[in-house]
């Protein structure tokens, strides 16, 4: 027996070397890494783009972006550039949408996985996927034509935080539901059988056992949904009223960061344009913060 401890000299090491990926596999492996790198690089590029464009406003205004007396922007520093009402607006609409959507989405998935009629399950799954396919303009139109007048009857003018949250909730529902569903499907059947064999009803099994194993899916769904809700533009533009103010009730109109960008980027220049990019940067920061807390909550649940 070769007693040398040098790895290179041993036959085992030779084997190891000869078994490292080779031929087309090595290429595939490299390709995978390259793709992953590419994705990361593109992300950095976008963030860098937004950050660069924001630079001017951040340098010129600094904390004024949160403390100015209002949002009356101009091309130079004589304007007022307070983004706080928009941040609050974005957060409120997105979180309210999430609060409405998450329980319904999870309920839908519980239903799908505990229902004993296979045709109903398939039909329901297809319906959720269909919902995922409705374009945001259509959601926006529906909100404008159906939801806003409805809410307007309660309290005029109807364009409000609530209107935005309702439409967004419907829009992000399939994202959360499909993610939770696919994670649930990857849960091995034996866990399900184990629960059922204890005499639990199917829906309790999903609720208490399967969902636990699939929680990473629910969290990922919530993250994607939040990102979408925070980043959505068309819908909020159409139904939220776009008034810059700190709301005191969910029936009041507000302007979100995205709506602000969409409304003003079309003609903004100078500092105003840069401040709008700061909005974009803030949105990204908000998403990061929310992701972070979602993961913390997820850990608590685990």
């Amino acid at each position: 027996m070769n007693n040398s401890t040098s790895l290179a000299s041993s036959a085992l090491a030779n084997t190891a070397l000869r078994h490292s990926p080779k031929g087309h596999d090595r290429w595939l492996f490299l390709l995978v890494r390259l793709c992953a790198l590419l994705a990361a690089a593109l992300l950095l590029l976008i963030v860098a783009f937004v950050a660069t464009e924001s630079g001017q406003a951040i340098q010129a205004l600094g904390a004024r972006l949160f403390t100015d007396s209002g949002w009356f922007p101009g091309a130079d520093a004589s304007g007022q550039f307070n983004l706080t009402p928009m941040i609050v607006g974005s957060l409120l609409v997105a979180l309210l949408a999430m609060a409405i959507s998450l329980p319904i989405a999870v309920a839908s998935v519980l239903f799908v996985h505990s229902c004993s009629q296979p045709w109903l399950v398939i039909a329901y799954r297809r319906a959720i996927e269909l919902l995922a396919g409705i374009p945001s303009v259509v959601f926006g139109l529906w909100g404008l034509v159906v939801i806003v007048p409805l809410l307007g009857q309660l309290q005029a003018p109807g364009t409000s935080i609530l209107a935005g949250a309702l439409v967004l909730a419907l829009m992000i529902l399939p994202t959360i539901a499909l993610l939770a569903d696919s994670a649930l499907r990857a849960v091995p059947n034996e866990l399900r059988l184990g629960g059922l064999a204890l005499g639990l009803s199917p829906w309790r099994v999903v609720l208490r056992i399967q969902l636990l194993q699939a929680r990473s899916g629910v969290i990922a769904g919530a993250i994607l949904g939040l990102g979408r809700a925070l980043g959505e533009t068309m819908v909020v533009l159409m139904v939220c009223g776009n008034v810059v103010q700190l709301p005191t009730s969910i029936m009041q109109p507000i302007r979100t960061l995205t709506a602000n960008i969409a409304l003003e980027m079309a003609y903004a220049g100078g500092l105003q344009r840069s401040a709008l990019f700061v909005s974009g940067l803030l949105l990204i920061a908000l998403v990061v913060a929310l992701i972070w807390s979602a993961h913390r909550m997820g850990r608590g649940y685990a």
Partner: protein
């Protein structure tokens, strides 16, 4: 250990009358024409070679067959005079109630991705034991019954997936007996257990005699001999498992009627 609540909640007379039972998976026959009576409070061992339909047989007794794709059953299984293979029990609530009375321990241990304690307490909680202390007490008793208590008492909060193979198996047994079902279906409960733990479980099964009805699949013939009141031998001749012989255990082992039985129980085995 307060047995009142749970024991009461499952009121059936735990005797099984199986006649003409068959199981198919798609067009593959797993089991055919099994007729068998299982007395209340008795221990029945099912033996036979791998793939002869033992697990499939057990699955019929609490309708786990419903949960396998393309699986169909024929014949009937009467529990307390009711055909549990009938359509009435297809409804999830009825099936759940049935499984509450007819507990099952799987061949492959499948602990939930929960803590060790929660694995046992989950079932209790779901079945209406609302008092936390009572749940913990029952869980402790179940863990002690399977001889796992000493090993895990200091780590009840750890996830059950970190247990060793034999520990997982005993946890699954504890999980089932904690609910005190009237009938207990055990699929090779000692397969991952060393002699000591095995003996403990056998002892547990023997203790259950009279109060519970046990159907035990085992590949350990000596074990069948030691604990079972009656033993059934299944065999698969290549086109679906069949019941070869069923008799009181001592009879089956000492005076087998069939040639196959004779060969199997007399074969070289531990």
């Amino acid at each position: 250990m307060n047995k009142a609540i749970l024991a009461e909640s499952c009121e059936c007379e735990p005797a099984l009358q199986i006649s003409g039972l068959g199981v198919t998976y798609g067009n593959q026959i797993a089991l055919k024409d099994v007729s068998l009576t299982i007395e209340a409070g008795s221990i029945t061992a099912i033996i036979g070679p791998s793939g002869c339909g033992k697990s499939s047989f057990l699955a019929c007794l609490n309708r786990m067959t419903d949960l396998t794709a393309h699986c169909a059953t024929t014949g009937n299984v009467e529990l307390d005079g009711v055909d549990i293979l009938g359509d009435a029990f297809r409804k999830p609530a009825q099936a759940a109630a049935l499984r509450r009375c007819v507990g099952m321990i799987f061949q492959k241990p499948n602990p939930f991705p929960l803590s060790i304690a929660e694995n046992i307490e989950l079932g209790l909680k779901e079945h209406g034991v609302t008092d936390k202390a009572e749940r913990r007490e029952k869980a402790t008793a179940a863990l002690q019954a399977v001889g796992l208590w000493e090993e895990v008492q200091h780590r009840l909060g750890e996830t059950a997936l970190t247990l060793s193979g034999g520990q997982q198996q005993r946890l699954c047994i504890a999980r089932a007996i904690a609910l005190e079902p009237k009938i207990l279906l055990m699929d090779e409960p000692c397969s991952a257990l060393d002699p000591i733990a095995s003996q403990r479980v056998e002892q547990l099964i023997a203790e259950l005699r009279g109060r519970y009805t046990v159907v035990l699949v085992t590949h350990n013939l000596a074990q069948a001999r030691r604990v079972a009141d009656q033993t059934a031998l299944f065999w698969n001749h290549g086109n679906g498992g069949e019941l070869v012989e069923v008799a009181a255990t001592s009879l089956l082992f000492n005076q087998p009627r069939e040639a196959i039985t004779k060969a199997y129980v007399g074969g070289e085995c531990c």
